[in-house]
């Protein structure tokens, strides 16, 4: 395939996917659309994390912390924290808090990028892991800002759009559909932005940093510049995702940002494929549905023997399945699910190439 063909196929796939996302709510239960909104939210966070970890090689086990910053920015800007004794009055419409959530989180990420410059590989993983573990109790400590362990509830806030339906461009959306379209619009825009960002000079520089810092430096790629940039952009994505998460759950609380969230995000990019964008949709679907679907005992068909399904539906069972999948993926498919397609594609391409060259 020539690069031009690849580009055309990529555009076609993106357009087809957009169309699919657009019409999907017409075919599913209205209630389900909110669950599908979570896929978009995780997708945004995964795109952000993959820019940092998959493309730039900086391991972050603490991306849930960035989502927490975004979520709390949105919640505080909407309803304020004067009720807890904090300084902010709130009163900003929910949609407008999202760019601010991205900005605030992006600045945090950019700032964290500087100390992170001195941490390589394992040490960065360790530090970010500690951040992920420390975030819920930090939120609880600063209760004047964050409402402590109770969190902040957004339900009933006048700034929350669409509690009783939204009129937009002459169409009427239910609250769930509104959440769905808002999240997916941002996710698709986010994907496009990430693609533009990663395909050119910047993307090459980031990959160079990942593959060899020494080689990157000697070819004139500034490590501080690109690493802090990757941290900032990645955090901004996580910030929007966090803000959307606050809206979708109509509230924030410290326990939704435990280490589990950060680990899910890591699982998502590993399943989706490190250093790729298209596969992240799979990753987002898996982390949005596998834990709940599995434990809620929804019909999994006769995929597996009943006994196994029954056992894994006990508490903790889905985690075991999750962890085993993660470990096995690292053994057999370090490039994620997208890697299979890429490999199959390459095999077909090389067969066609060898056939045409031999004839």
């Amino acid at each position: 395939m020539t690069p031009r063909q690849k580009l055309v196929i990529g555009f076609a796939a993106f357009a087809a996917f957009t169309a699919f996302v657009l019409v999907l709510p017409a075919f599913v239960n209205e209630f389900k659309t909110r669950e599908y909104a979570y896929v978009a939210i995780y997708l945004l966070a995964l795109v952000g994390l993959n820019i940092l970890t998959g493309y730039t090689g900086q391991i972050s086990l603490g991306h849930g912390a960035f989502m927490a910053i975004g979520a709390y920015t949105t919640a505080i800007l909407m309803v304020g924290n004067e009720q807890f004794g904090g300084p902010i009055g709130g009163g900003i419409k929910d949609v407008w808090t999202l760019p601010l959530a991205a900005l605030v989180t992006g600045v945090f990420g950019y700032a964290f990028g500087f100390p992170a410059l001195r941490l390589s590989g394992l040490y960065l993983a360790l530090a970010t892991f500690a951040i992920a573990v420390a975030i819920p109790s930090t939120i609880r400590r600063f209760e004047h800002w964050t409402g402590g362990g109770q969190g902040i509830t957004l339900a009933g806030s006048p700034e929350l759009t669409g509690e009783d339906g939204v009129e937009f461009l002459g169409l009427t959306f239910t609250p769930n559909q509104w959440m769905y379209y808002l999240s997916w619009t941002l996710a698709l825009v986010g994907l496009a932005v990430a693609w533009f960002l990663l395909r050119g000079r910047t993307g090459r520089a980031l990959r160079a940093v990942r593959d060899s810092e020494t080689a990157a430096t000697s070819s004139g790629v500034s490590l501080p510049r690109y690493k802090t940039f990757a941290f900032g952009v990645s955090a901004a994505f996580a910030g929007i995702a966090g803000g959307l998460l606050a809206l979708a759950a109509s509230g924030v609380s410290p326990d939704s940002f435990s280490i589990v969230l950060s680990i899910y995000l890591l699982v998502g990019i590993v399943i989706g494929g490190l250093g790729g964008l298209s596969g992240l949709v799979f990753g987002a679907i898996v982390i949005a549905f596998l834990p709940t679907t599995w434990s809620q005992g929804e019909d999994l068909g006769s995929l597996l023997p009943d006994r196994i399904i029954e056992e894994t539906q006990k508490p903790g069972g889905s985690a075991i399945v999750f962890g085993v999948i993660l470990i096995l993926l690292m053994f057999v498919l370090p490039n994620g699910v997208a890697g299979i397609f890429r490999r199959v594609g390459q095999a077909i391409a090389s067969r066609r190439y060898s056939r045409s060259s031999s004839s």
Binding site: T53, G57, I59, L61, P115, R118, L119, G121, L122, Y123, A125, L126, A127, F129, A130, I131, V133, A134, S137, T138, R140, R141, T214, I259, I263, L266, V270, L274, E311, K314, P315, G316, G317, S318, A319, I320, F322, G323, V324, L326, I327, M330, F331, P334
Partner: protein, 299 residues
């Protein structure tokens, strides 16, 4: 003054627990260059095994504890042979993801097997409280400190005076040349994992009586252990112990001072973030820690 001593003593006791888990991290990092994110969950699993042996099978405490140590040792070796070895030499990310996967699996398994409600595991040293000149210290705290100091002594003897210890060090420092002189390197690395798992089991058994046994019992302890290991130098066993004790006393001091008005912003919720701060500051100011040697990278 007695209040002050009181805080130092209980700080040392909690620090000793951090030190034992930090030792496990250090041994694995020294021998295989891996940071084991599942170390805390492995320790939790060990504590649960001991609990199950005692409460479900009616074993005595010490037999159950000994069996747990042996099982953990074997489990650690098996973990290295089956799960870690295939990814050890690859990219850092693969190893990290695999140990995170292990963390998820063990945490899920404990929840699946024993449920989420907290369990009680007794202290081997009893709960007698001694009054030494106005300072109260529990038998469990004394026992914890003694056990950890004993472990350090044993480890030092092992690494310094035995052939296995020499082989372990050789395999860690220069695997290729160690192999040339007949050290079975992969087994030495596996042995390191076994030792670490057993040390983790001790940490779990010492932690469980002070808090209740539950599936995420060791998560904060793991962060303290990271902080202790980084503070002391992540390749230095002595550093891990000193770091653990220092951290335990430091965190207790802050809580103590906050009662008297100084550092009054420091509440119980800030213990884990405090440990995080220690990690960040040490990594930024002196990455090698107190006892470590600065790393030199060859290009």
């Amino acid at each position: 003054m007695t209040d002050f001593l009181q805080q130092v003593i209980s700080g040392l006791a909690s620090g000793a627990v951090y030190a034992s888990l930090a030792l496990a991290l250090v041994i694995i990092h020294r021998s295989t260059g891996v940071i084991n994110f599942a170390q805390g969950e492995m320790a939790t699993l060990s504590a649960y095994i001991a609990w199950a042996l005692i409460w479900h099978h009616g074993w005595g405490y010490w037999t159950a504890a000994a069996a747990t140590l042996v099982l953990s040792f074997i489990g650690g070796i098996a973990t290295h042979r089956v799960i870690i070895r295939p990814v050890e030499r690859g990219s850092v990310l693969r190893v990290v993801v695999v140990t995170i996967g292990l963390l998820i699996v063990i945490n899920g398994f404990v929840l699946w097997q024993w449920g989420g409600e907290p369990k009680f595991l007794q202290s081997p040293f009893g709960n007698h409280i001694y009054d030494i000149g106005g300072v109260f210290i529990t038998a469990h705290d004394i026992g914890t400190i003694c056990v950890v100091l004993g472990i350090v002594l044993l480890l030092w003897l092992l690494f310094r005076f035995t052939k296995i210890g020499l082989a372990l060090r050789a395999a860690a420092v220069n695997p290729d040349e160690a192999r040339l002189v007949g050290v079975r390197v992969t087994w030495m690395l596996a042995l390191g994992w076994g030792l670490a798992a057993a040390l983790g089991a001790i940490a779990g058994l010492l932690t469980a009586p002070t808090v209740l046994l539950d599936p995420s019992m060791m998560q904060p302890v793991l962060i303290y252990a990271f902080a202790a290991a980084v503070l002391g130098g992540i390749d230095s066993p002595v550093g891990a112990v000193v770091g653990g004790l220092l951290l335990g006393v430091l965190l207790n001091m802050l809580s103590f001072l906050s009662q008297y008005g100084a550092f009054d912003w420091f509440t119980e919720d800030l213990r884990v973030p405090g440990a995080l701060l220690v990690i960040l500051v040490v990594l930024l100011v002196r990455p090698a820690g107190i006892f470590g040697r600065p790393e030199v990278q060859r290009v």
